[in-house]
Amino acid sequence: MATTILSNGPQSTAPAPSGRHRNRRQGRARPNWLAGLISWIWLAIVIVPIYWIVITSFKSQSNYYLENPLVPPAEPTLTNYQMVIEADFPLYFVNSLIVTLGAVIPAVLVSFMASYAIVRGGSGRFLRWTSSLFLMGLAIPLQATIIPIYLIIIRLGMYDTLLGMILPSIAFSIPLSVLVLSNFLRDVPKELFDSMRIDGATETRMLWRLAFPLTRPAVVTVTIYNALQIWNGFLLPLVLTQSPDRRTLPLALAEFQGEYSINVPAVLASVLLSTLPILVLYVVGRRQLLSGLTAGFGK
């Protein structure tokens, strides 16, 4: 996500296209065969593995080897799900939930406050410097800092704790969150702040009562995006935990696959269960996430 705003070419300076302009292709009758063909091929490439995960997770282990892999099970069974749930899956699920919520909420809050300060008081030297520091964070592969993070977490006595995963996750989310949020905050008309200040509102009050509601779409986008990254994170739990009962889902999945590699249906049931919350989030916030990301990159 290093360079969300790299695209400050002509499209960012040009006025945003109106809804009518977006329909430019509607009038054209001639179908685009090549793009159409590619899009259907791509759909197959995307859907076949996912369809396979779903149907296979309902097959019994013995039938898995006998049945055609692309035909739904003749006798669907829930034993795989039962087995996965009995194999401490709820524990890993709760760990993932704690780490994700524990990191995303503070990350979005501190990023929002920082963005507000940068946009509203950005001419000060300190805030300008802070802003460029965050932007630099976008260009650096933060994964490369994993060894010192490991050392710091050990020294803080947080090795093998959920908090030890939460703190670096927050830090990793800040640069992009600040970038997207401040891009949106810049669009809030200055007059609104001025009139609120005349009414005697403090900066804190303006932040909560004016800036926050007006940039809600950006906040939702950033929240979903960060939640996705942290829920699916692998390296931090791998390096910063040791006990099986501190594992988050992706790490548990990898371990489970190593132990039960012969029981493919059970492994796929665990894959499906681990994705379920994100799937729900996607169904609820899809429009917001996709349009937010598109807008974030257009800016």
Binding site: I5, V119, Q143, Y282
Partner: protein, 307 residues
């Protein structure tokens, strides 16, 4: 990155009186403290650690250039750099054309395209670990899709042969990230002024001609954005390759990030692993600057053209 400059000017323009900066600064402090503690300090720390000797548990001792000498004279380093380079180039070459075509297609307005796009983005939701596990099972030569359908073409030892394994990594990476990049291109295509196409149509230009003469040149900055994300992102593919091949077979898919992890957390040589990390950061910065320069020059050029 080119944003560093632009956003500085933007915030200067948006900025108000200097005095208010002081009263607002405290709001930036929590984010700054967290980012400093777990971003900036570790970044400096990785450089410091590269001059030490540490097994990950015991005491850390100063070791001068020992680790650097060890890593730079290790034939494993050029190999890891080469594999990383190949992954970057191959995944860029596969993803970019596919993402542009899909993005252009998705920018259309037909109803079914909206439905397609909902399905297209599902890979974005899965964790790399889940994706790697799925493809590992799908491609299993004995129990996977090929064996089940009795298709000899699909029944290869996909992860057992070096070049096949490399191809699988590129395929799975593309499967995971093409949706994201086609989303970026979709946004880019929608910002191309419609009038350009109308003018071209009046001049009798065909679809292919319009694609190459209008769409593609207009997407130049989107291409640079998306390429930067791809290239810098390619440097940090760790989880996917780790679960899929663990760098194997042999060291056929041992990219820099994997090399760092294996040296540090498996061989307990944190000094040399930190050297690899420093190299990773430097390569990432160099690539980002290179792409930024590519974008920067074009940017100024086209702005002049626009006048």
């Amino acid at each position: 990155m080119s944003a560093i400059a632009t956003s500085a000017t933007a915030s200067a323009k948006a900025g108000d009186d200097r005095s208010r900066g002081g009263s607002l600064s405290w709001m930036a402090l929590p984010a700054l403290a967290l980012f400093a503690g777990f971003g900036v300090i570790p970044l400096a720390g990785v450089l410091v650690l590269s001059f030490t000797s540490w097994d990950g548990l015991g005491a850390i001792s100063f070791a001068g250039f020992d680790s650097w000498r060890a890593v730079l004279s290790d034939p494993g380093l050029p190999h890891a750099l080469w594999i990383t380079f190949l992954v970057i180039v191959a995944s860029w070459a596969v993803q970019t054309p596919a993402s542009i075509l899909l993005g252009v297609f998705l920018a259309g307005q037909q109803r079914y395209r909206a439905v397609l796009s909902v399905l297209y983005f599902i890979p974005l939701l899965l964790s790399s670990a889940a994706i790697a596990i799925t493809f590992k099972a799908l491609l299993d030569p004995n129990f996977g899709l090929g064996a089940g359908l009795r298709l000899p073409l699909l029944t290869q030892d996909w992860l057992g042969e070096p070049w096949l394994a490399f191809g699988v990594v590129i395929f799975v990476v593309s499967w995971q990230f093409i949706p994201f990049h086609s989303l970026i291109y979709q946004g880019g295509v929608r910002q191309i002024p419609r009038t350009m196409y109308e003018a071209a149509e009046l001049d009798g230009a065909g679809r292919v001609r319009m694609f190459f003469s209008i769409t593609l040149p207009q997407l130049k900055y989107t291409v640079i954005t998306s390429s930067t994300l791809m290239v810098v992102g390619s440097l940090t593919f760790f989880d996917l390759i780790w679960v899929l091949t663990a760098g194997g077979p042999g060291d056929a898919t041992r990219v820099l990030a994997l090399d760092m992890y294996k040296r540090g957390f498996q061989a307990n040589l944190m000094g040399p692993a930190s050297v690899i990390a420093v190299i990773l950061v430097l390569v990432g910065l160099a690539l980002a600057l290179f792409l930024r320069r590519l974008g920067g020059r074009d940017n100024a050029h086209s702005q002049l053209e626009g006048m």
